[in-house]
Point group: C2
Chain length 353, copies 2
Amino acid sequence: MTEHSPEFTLSCPTPLETHATVQMAHGGGGRLMRRLIEDLFLPGFGTDPAGNPPHDSAVLDVPAGRLAFTTDTFVVSPLVFPGGDIGHLAVYGTVNDLAMAGAQPLALSAGFILEEGLPIEMLRRVVDSLGHAADEVGERIVTGDTKVVDRGPGDGIFINTAGVGLVPPGVNISPRRVAPGDAILLSGDLGRHGIAIMSVREGLGFEGAIASDCASLAGLVAALVQADPDVHCLRDLTRGGLAAALCEIADGARVGIQLREASIPVSAPVDGACELLGLDPLYVANEGRLVAFVPAQAAERTLEIMRAHKAAPEPAVIGTVTADHPGTVELRNSLGGSRVVDLLSGEQMPRIC
Amino acid sequence: MTEHSPEFTLSCPTPLETHATVQMAHGGGGRLMRRLIEDLFLPGFGTDPAGNPPHDSAVLDVPAGRLAFTTDTFVVSPLVFPGGDIGHLAVYGTVNDLAMAGAQPLALSAGFILEEGLPIEMLRRVVDSLGHAADEVGERIVTGDTKVVDRGPGDGIFINTAGVGLVPPGVNISPRRVAPGDAILLSGDLGRHGIAIMSVREGLGFEGAIASDCASLAGLVAALVQADPDVHCLRDLTRGGLAAALCEIADGARVGIQLREASIPVSAPVDGACELLGLDPLYVANEGRLVAFVPAQAAERTLEIMRAHKAAPEPAVIGTVTADHPGTVELRNSLGGSRVVDLLSGEQMPRIC
């Protein structure tokens, strides 16, 4: 190569808080990015920079077995909402996806896209939340990445988390195992997350009454599979709510699903907000609820285990799996009437996770 | 719950190409998202939808051992550039990060953030590229996610890929192992990727002469560690180029690095473009080049293996590791002069990966 001048280099260290907002240079692979990693990300994740010279991959010891692997991207708007922020959501969302395969979480990755101009203070808050949530579920953030993009609509942060976990021997949880006769249990009331987001976004003033239910379901799932490794299928309720989760399973397993409307818990504030907004709580997102499909004879025992766990605040048997009408979810009301629950075209509310 | 009307549901199937562009509803967890997954993502990734009812995690059988885990987010602008597009980059970038730990790739995740208004045709192109690149490196996309965000600056697609791989027994590649006396080898010429991107972005007209070097390094690394499992450290050159990679390693391993400028290959078109743009090729990104740190006595053998591999088009021994001046990278020119190579504050060019 020919010689080039070294003017591009900067030899004095720059403290992170010199800039109040994220600059394009924070994503450039240079000194400012290193500051961001060493002064903000690593402390937020509880990682000692001195003990960890940067490497392109994390390396984990694993036993022989089945590895669960999942990814989820979070684009929620606003970033902070009653009950949590995008940092909590990024941990719980991916931990819950691992848990739905019966896996015990092993490690998480975190990939950030930051918008130029994002206040460093907001980034610090989100990274700290992410670190605390990971800590709470006994999970480590072992690898990460940061990119900075031009100013956009002002949302500021998108986060992708991927996760790996180990499926305990004997556990075999999959939509394929759902069978006619299975009981369907729901761990708690519907719609808190979606309504909490909508309330802030639309300035509806429900903020005091309705907080997001976002939470880890890993502990609840560990208790369920320990008591009965024969759980057939688990699914957490996110985009599209209970309706989307059940439609997908009915279709994938080629079974029918019958729900009893009166047994599905919805809190009075969520029900009221749904009436006001013209929303159906069946389709509103949760971020800390699951449905479990278990053999009929295991339903009572599963309900007892849920009742004993804080992550299942209002568990209920809400329906059964049938051989009739494969691919169809039917909701029966207390007067004997029924309607088919179908997938929406899109989503009642965008950007909720 | 109280009863709600079913007007939100849509009972007729909607072909994907009914919409020429991505809608918010494509990210909503409903019918349109399902169309996108079944008609575009799964075929692009070579996955049979019928054989794979949707599940929250992929489950892989793994032997006992060391699992490498990494993540990378891609925000390159423009999405398509000479030599590839963001889909190729998303596969090679993460596969290369796994390879830098000596790992054989096992599986990838893909998380997409799509901007409302993105042409479906562009999305299909990128997803197909991603699928083809994965296929080429013998890698599977086993889990994915899609979110849609409001119209922004018009970039259209951000992709996160995370990857898992297995580190073969006996292989121990890490910056910690870099030691005084090690030879430093570079697999090929500098700066092609960054200059290819800049050329399109700035309309410089180098497009014919300079294509991105983006490529998988997994095969090259497999050949290197098979021949000599004692490779000390590997690092691919991305943001911040050769300079950032070496500064980080010198700092992390607390060693000095001495480079011979005349031995560092830079093609004439890249050198010319750098002169014109006022850039230093040492800092310009590649996406298909690596540096290897090996014991001095292994340098010739390593060079031979590189010469025999298509992913190392112009391999060279470019320097040595010293005990003097720990944390410092020094570049010596042919006249006997030298300069310190330091991290830039940011990046000479943003959004290149």
